[in-house]
């Protein structure tokens, strides 16, 4: 290390701001009186590399490598014990003709739509209202966010109790007004409705907070100008608020797509108590999401190759859906 003792070797990188890529760190100007060190090779940045290395090492070992190893597994037949056997595309061919896989995809998509749409609309509405009121803001924000910090297992058990066919609160209340019990947890559609309600309950507050942050960032002068031009609150909302919020809405749509498609714990816990259908997603497998099907194939049937094929097919689906959503949300940007 040949750098002057006043500055020490670690700060060499910033000093490059001058002669090096100025667009990179334009604000870094060396303080007067220091000697500017010479340009150095990558090895002199060892402190920086060391500082970021833990993340990359752990990520490489426990995320990056596994993700691609599962792609390798998808071309094998393996029960986790014996020898692996290369089977080519056989797992994917089987997947293509497996009705249960397609059922799980349908279930996942239906649950995703039924939960994401009300969640995002509700969140946007609540955020707008919350932005317009002046009192109790902090209280509302905290009270509406609490569902998101509650564990899914606890929430799923609660929903299972409340929507229970025979003794649940919902059917009891319906019974009091003379409506016969509704089979919430055995009708294929109602099962999805209950799971979606659960997810809506849990995620509306989260998205509301994000929208609220976006609303607060919109300068008020825009609204004043709109008001002067005679725009009413509805028109202001659709022609000013929504267009400005578009990037944030896009962000929430992507996050909700990734989260919503990964529903696993909800059906797993809701229907785990039914011993005959354990882990199968309830009566008629109506609550069998793709991730749950993966769990069943890989960890209950010990069919590692098929499990890997399921998650990879599922990953492709997520990418397609995120891309489609992106396109839809981007459209109309320049009308």
């Amino acid at each position: 290390m040949s750098s002057p003792p006043v500055t020490g070797p670690a700060e060499a990188p910033q000093r490059l701001g001058g002669p090096g890529p100025a667009r990179f760190r334009p604000r870094r100007t060396p303080p007067a009186g220091t000697v500017r060190p010479r340009r150095r090779g990558p090895l002199s940045y060892w402190r920086q590399y060391l500082a970021i290395s833990p993340f990359y090492l752990i990520f490489a070992a426990f995320s990056f490598f596994p993700v691609f190893y599962s792609l390798y597994l998808a071309f094998q037949r393996w029960d986790g014990m014996g020898d692996m056997q290369f089977v080519g595309l056989q797992q994917f061919r089987f997947l293509w003709s497996d009705p249960v896989f397609w059922l799980s995809i349908r279930n996942t998509l239906v649950i995703w739509v039924l939960s994401t749409v009300p969640t995002l609309f509700g969140a946007l509405m609540l955020a707008t209202l919350l932005h317009s009121v002046r009192r109790f803001k902090g209280f509302y924000r905290i009270a509406l966010y609490v569902p998101n910090v509650t564990s899914i297992v606890a929430v799923a058990i609660f929903f299972g109790a409340v929507f229970s066919n025979n003794f649940g609160l919902v059917n009891a209340i319906l019974g009091m007004v003379g409506i016969s019990p509704i089979p919430w947890l055995s009708n294929p559609w109602l099962i999805k409705v209950v799971i979606s309600l659960l997810m809506t309950w849990q995620w509306t507050g989260y998205n509301m907070i994000i929208y609220l942050a976006g609303l607060q960032a919109i300068p008020t002068s825009i609204y004043e100008a709109a008001k002067m031009d005679g725009a009413g609150p509805i028109r202001t909302f659709f022609q000013i608020t929504i267009p400005i919020m578009r990037p944030i809405i896009l962000f929430t749509v992507v996050i909700s797509t990734i989260n919503g498609l990964q529903s696993f714990s909800e059906p797993q816990v809701l229907f785990a108590s039914n011993a005959a259908n354990a882990n199968l997603g309830g009566p008629g497998q109506a609550g069998l999401t793709t991730l749950l099907y993966f769990y069943q194939s890989a960890f209950l049937n010990n069919d590692y190759g098929y499990g890997a094929a399921i998650v990879w097919a599922f990953f492709v689906l997520i990418i397609v859906l995120v891309a489609v959503n992106w396109r839809i949300t981007q459209r109309g940007r320049k009308p």
Partner: protein, 289 residues
């Protein structure tokens, strides 16, 4: 919080003063009731007997059987043991995530080095990778190194938290002035000292948000502990709770007492830190979107 208080009444101006504000409050209060109702009803169920819950119509008021139900929970499952497991894993994970992520974020935000852009770009890509893809090989990996069933198998994969780095990076870029780091450098502070003595104290709000975020995620994680903790006597709270639900469908009030005991600590912790947490969350969302 100042942002809230000074938020100008742009949408609630002169024209829509009284009646509109009232409607907004009514809708918001209804929403709050919906979001709080499950907690109230869980308490009702946990304080009554199973017979009271199964009655038609059920009992709608708080009962007096809470202690009895809690005793049943403690007799049925190793509640405090699994809670201790969860607390250990959550605390270790949170502490390490905070250190790893803040150090990396500080480096990315304030230093220029070859490959910086590329490495940070891949980080953003990593955030998109659904980690479910990795569960199966992670499990195989853990069984290869003999960690299946052990608590350390829980913590390790979640230490690579790309979101935390990204989020702290945004915060450090604006929140830690370069002049201060320059001054410290002139005074002879090296790389680690700049991080530890200058940057770290300045990013406390962002760190407290990340801490709660990581802790809550770890506490509520279900699929990975379910997969990797194969020994039924040595699991986390969530897995234990799910098992309680499976095995004892006939004793609903006891299950609900368990739900209450498992969910409440986190809600209390959250409510205490909520102000800072939500302020932090909103800052990150705006910058990140």
């Amino acid at each position: 919080m100042t942002a809230v208080d000074t938020a100008p009444p742009a949408t609630s101006g002169r024209r829509l003063r009284r009646p509109r504000g009232l409607t907004a409050h009514i809708i918001l209060i209804v929403a709050v009731l919906i979001s709080v109702f499950p907690f109230a009803w869980t308490i009702v169920m946990a304080t009554n007997t199973t017979q009271d819950i199964y009655k038609s119509p059920p009992k709608f008021t708080f009962g007096s059987h809470l202690l009895e139900n809690i005793r049943h929970v403690l007799n049925t499952i190793d509640f405090f043991g699994s809670m201790l497991n969860t607390i250990i894993v959550a605390c270790v994970t949170t502490a390490l995530v905070l250190f790893i992520d803040s150090l990396a974020a500080f480096t990315f935000a304030k230093f220029d080095f070859p490959g910086r852009k590329l490495l940070f770009g891949t980080l953003l890509l990593f955030m998109m990778l659904p980690l479910q893809l990795a569960i199966l090989p992670q499990f195989i990996l853990m069984s290869k190194i003999g960690w299946v069933g052990m608590l350390k198998a829980l913590a390790l994969p979640s230490l690579a938290n790309a979101f935390g780095i990204f989020w702290l990076h945004q915060y450090i870029q604006n929140g830690v002035p370069d002049e201060l780091l320059d001054a410290a450098r002139i005074d002879g502070a090296g790389f680690f000292r700049q991080y530890w003595n200058i940057a770290l104290p300045m990013i406390r709000p962002a760190m407290s948000f990340l801490a709660i975020y990581a802790f809550v995620n770890c506490w509520n994680d279900y699929i990975w502990p379910l997969v990797v903790l194969t020994n039924p006597d040595h699991v986390t709270l969530q897995v234990e709770l799910a098992q309680l639900n499976v095995g004892h469908t006939t004793d609903y009030s006891m299950v609900m007492a368990g739900v209450l005991m498992a969910a409440l600590p986190l809600v209390v912790v959250f409510s205490i830190f909520a102000r800072g947490f939500i302020a932090g969350a909103t800052e990150g969302a705006v910058q990140g979107a």
